[in-house]
């Protein structure tokens, strides 16, 4: 009897020890309550958004470290002031004069201590790097500025003139309706000229994109590839100081792990929940879901430089094999709408008449017969390895296409690599076709047409079809040269008709964008035109 009592006592002690170790220890210390943990879906490719167009990089970098001359108000899509307190546009819309704010400080870090505040020299330095091939920093980081090349910034800007320390003027070659909207994108971040000089002196120019210096609400502390990014608060920030002492991006590519981390409070905010999890998350009372109608499109692009995709008939045939409804059910779990054009219906230039994809295998077969491929062929579909707002599961989408194409005797190999390699190989044009998409950077329709399909974008890499059509380019260019919205819409409709005829890509869906966070987190700002902004975020008691 005594022995049994002893045994019971031992078991109770063991349970006691386990429960002490196991109890939910409230992480409510000073540091924990001032640290935001964001579970992101991938590693940034660079710490300079000028060099890339990937949403992962924009989310991780752009709004946290940097400011722009002007920015987009997420609530209404209007361009508003940021580093520039005022912008004066000349009557002919050829000169843009930016008046900068005073006393804007750059980050002080363990690798750089600024001796002066932001001046026009920093703006000149930033844009000279992009525009001038002889700039010492132009080729650093590959010398590619995909967004700016896509919109033809170097052809657009005639000259940048420093008027005085706090005034700078951009002179354009042609009037362009989308210039200010482009200057407000997440790509047009302002770098420090003084830091650039320091790096030239120390012979470490490449660090400008790896150890960034900006004027934003947070400064760079530490980055471990595929693991985390740590930012600390910029104490001398020119706008109201953040409530957070640090933000940590916990890089977790796996969807289910990311979801588990949210539920165990290892993440406060979750980027890109899997569409299949959104329904489940709606039932959890401890989390809030922010849903935004996002300016995005997911599409299937064909490499028009390789056979048989250089034949518009084949491309058109393949477009008839896209079962949009099946895709929206299986991939988006209904949280998207079928795309009938490159533009989402919320855009003012959207034309409801354009209708590219229509599931019809019989028609597809007829077109293939006409193109001389009645016996089918073998092709690759590259599927993104990461979740993006416009495509939560490219692999699944590829499988659905694979099934449809099998009916047409087309053998599909689904190809994927890690995200970095995937993008690199894609930029090299090694693909047959790819399932990818686009998240707009501003509210201007030009932001869809030029980066995705212009000839310039085919060179810079954001045109995944490598398609170049003079007629299309001319329409898009003419749309830009006028400020009259009705006229612009006509040109965009023309451009859309060319896409429908030539099918360099098939628009598939426009997805709704979601961010999930615990309800003790407030003020997570998701810009429908770009990245995520934590500058006003507050963390309450858990």
């Amino acid at each position: 009897m005594v022995k049994i009592k002893g045994l019971i006592k031992a078991v109770l002690v063991m349970f006691g020890v386990t429960s002490i170790l196991g109890c939910d220890i409230e992480q409510d210390s000073e540091l924990a309550s001032k640290t935001l943990l964001y579970c992101s879906e991938g590693s940034p490719e660079s710490f300079n958004p000028q060099l890339v167009t990937s949403g992962t990089t924009i989310d991780a970098v752009s709004q946290q470290i940097y400011n722009r001359l002007v920015k987009i108000d997420p609530s209404n899509g209007q361009v508003v002031s940021d580093l520039a307190r005022k912008v004066i546009v000349s009557n002919d819309a050829m000169r843009y004069r930016f008046y900068l704010r005073k006393d804007i400080t750059f980050h002080t870090t363990d690798y750089f201590t600024p001796t002066r505040n932001l001046t026009s020299a920093d703006i000149l330095f930033t844009f000279s790097r992009i525009l001038h091939t002889d700039n010492p920093f132009h080729d650093v980081g590959g010398g590619q500025y995909p967004f700016f090349s896509g919109i033809g910034l170097s052809q657009l800007i005639e000259q940048i003139i420093v008027v005085d320390d706090l005034t700078i003027e951009f002179r354009l070659n042609d009037p362009q309706a989308s210039f200010l909207a482009n200057m407000a994108t997440d790509f047009a971040v302002i770098l420090s000229a003084e830091y650039g000089e320091q790096l030239i002196e120390s012979g470490q120019k490449e660090l400008i994109d790896q150890k960034p210096i900006g004027t934003g609400p947070f400064k760079f502390k530490d980055y471990k590839r595929d693991h985390y990014i740590r930012y600390l608060k910029h104490h001398d920030y020119w706008q109201s100081e953040s409530n957070l002492e640090q933000i940590v991006f916990d890089i977790t590519p796996d969807n289910s792990t990311r979801l588990a981390k949210l539920l165990t409070k290892e993440c406060d905010v979750l980027g890109y929940p899997s569409a299949s999890d959104v329904g489940f998350l709606h039932k959890r009372k401890e989390v809030d879901i922010v849903e935004t109608t996002s300016m995005n499109v997911s599409y299937w692009a064909f490499n028009t430089e390789v056979e048989p995709f250089n034949n518009p008939l084949v491309r058109k045939a393949l477009s008839y094999a896209v079962d949009q409804n099946a895709i929206i059910d299986a991939v988006y779990f209904g949280l998207a709408e079928p795309a009938t054009s490159l533009l989402p219906p919320t855009s003012w230039a959207y034309n409801g008449d354009s209708y590219i994809s229509r599931y019809n295998l019989q028609k597809a077969q007829e077109l293939l017969n006409e193109a001389g491929y009645s016996d089918g062929f073998e092709m690759d579909i590259w599927a993104m390895p990461v979740q993006r707002v416009y495509n939560p599961n490219a692999g699944k989408m590829a499988e659905i296409l694979q099934q449809s194409l099998k009916e047409l005797n087309i053998k599909v190999n689904i190809v994927t690599y890690d995200w970095g390699t995937f993008r690199k190989k894609l930029a090299n044009g090694e693909h047959d076709s790819v399932l990818i998409g686009w998240l707009a950077d501003n509210s201007d329709p030009d932001n869809f047409y030029r980066p995705l399909l212009s000839c310039a974008a085919a060179v810079s890499g954001s045109n995944r079809s490598l398609w170049c059509n003079d007629d299309y380019d001319s329409n898009v260019k003419q749309a830009l040269s006028t400020a009259n919205q009705d006229k612009r819409k006509i040109f965009y409709t023309n451009a859309e008709n060319i896409i429908t005829r030539e099918v360099p890509l098939v628009p598939i869906a426009h997805a709704t964008r979601h961010k999930v966070h615990h309800n003790y987190i407030k003020n997570v700002n998701i810009n429908p035109y770009g990245g995520i902004d934590f500058s006003a975020t507050k963390k309450g008691k858990q």
Binding site: L21, D24, I25, L31, V248, L263, E266, T421
Partner: protein
């Protein structure tokens, strides 16, 4: 005798290591792609650089010279660079290794602490009612796939109860400077204001992976201890000791334990390789940033130089651990020295 035995073991280690290096070296030729790229990790080799590297890697000479050049490089810490991120494999491996060693050591410690008393209790003929439940428990633990156990534990203790985190070694809130690579040690020697909080957090991160990884060795140890103790308790010298009037505890302490635990040490050595394989699975499930997770990532991404480096380190770990367990076994069992020939 002892020195002779250890020397023989080391001798064997050298030959086995040579075998592994030959295998790892041959992978340069067996993996698809350019041999020089596989060796260096550099995917874009210009013709000028190819000339220089070919000489350095002795590609212009026969395979024996290439092998010796390879041995020379790996002993100098030049294990090539990763295909994926262009960073030194050597640095990556030795950056990830402490996390795996830490996890394996804690799991083994846990196994000893839990399994030995249970094994001894199960062997006690005076308490037959304890034997069956303990054996049943060990059988369940032994036959349960650890990935399943890990997932069940995550579901119950992390997601439903919210007691333990699901991944990593420490919450990213805490920025602990890396000194030794062993998390608890690093936290202990750091001088940060949130040291105790971080320590508690690290312990919370350790509990589930340690328990999951320890499941297999614990169940093996329970059964081995039970069997071996039963054998020892059945021997004449134990019976004689009991007849002399020694208490059960005294018999256990003076006669049974030392002899009974000998096969346990040997068994641990034999199962260490399995433990390392299980550590890889555990690391992947709990995103534990050790060599296992690193190697699985390398395999996923077809990072051939990294796969070679990981292979050498993993096999090296298994050999060294096996030899250490063998030597320990021999220290406790003088009879083993008679069979002093090295074996793995």
């Amino acid at each position: 005798m002892m020195l002779n035995y250890v020397l023989r073991k080391c001798y064997l280690l050298i030959f086995v290591t040579l075998g592994v290096t030959i295998f790892a070296f041959s992978l340069n030729y067996l993996f698809p792609g350019d041999v020089l790229s596989n060796m260096t990790g550099n995917l874009n080799i210009s013709p000028e650089l190819r000339q220089i590297l070919s000489e350095e890697y002795r590609l212009d000479q026969n395979v024996i010279f290439q092998y010796f050049a390879y041995i020379h490089r790996i002993t100098n810490g030049d294990w090539g660079v990763s295909f994926i991120n262009d960073t030194s494999i050597f640095n990556q491996v030795f950056h990830a290794l402490p996390a795996t060693i830490e996890l394996a050591v804690y799991a083994l410690l846990y196994s000893f602490i839990v399994a030995l008393p249970l094994g001894i209790l199960a062997s006690d003929s005076n308490r037959p009612w304890l034997d069956k439940p303990i054996l049943a428990l060990s059988l369940i633990g032994f036959s349960m796939p650890i990935f399943w156990l890990a997932l069940i534990m995550i579901l119950i203790f992390s997601i439903n109860l919210g007691w333990f985190p699901v991944s990593g070694r420490l919450s990213l809130i805490y920025d602990i400077p890396v000194t030794t690579g062993f998390m608890l040690v690093d936290i202990w020697i750091s001088e940060l204001p949130y040291k105790m909080e971080a320590m508690l957090d690290a312990l919370k991160h350790l509990i589930m992976p340690t328990f999951v990884l320890a499941a297999y060795p614990t169940t093996v140890l329970i059964r081995t201890t039970r069997q071996s103790m039963q054998n020892v308790l059945d021997t004449s010298y134990v019976k004689a000791a009991k007849a002399k009037g020694l208490s059960n505890f005294q018999v256990l302490k003076r006669h049974a334990l030392r002899n009974g635990l000998l096969p346990v040490i040997q068994m641990l050595g034999i199962h260490f390789g399995t433990l390392i394989t299980l550590a890889m699975v555990t690391e992947v499930i709990f995103s534990w940033p050790g060599i296992g997770l690193w190697l699985v990532d390398a395999i996923h991404q077809r990072d051939y130089p990294a796969i070679q480096g990981g292979l050498m380190v993993m096999s090296g770990m298994v050999f060294v651990a096996t030899i250490i367990f063998d030597v320990i076994y021999m220290i406790f069992d003088p009879l083993a020295r008679r069979h002093g020939h090295g074996k793995i």
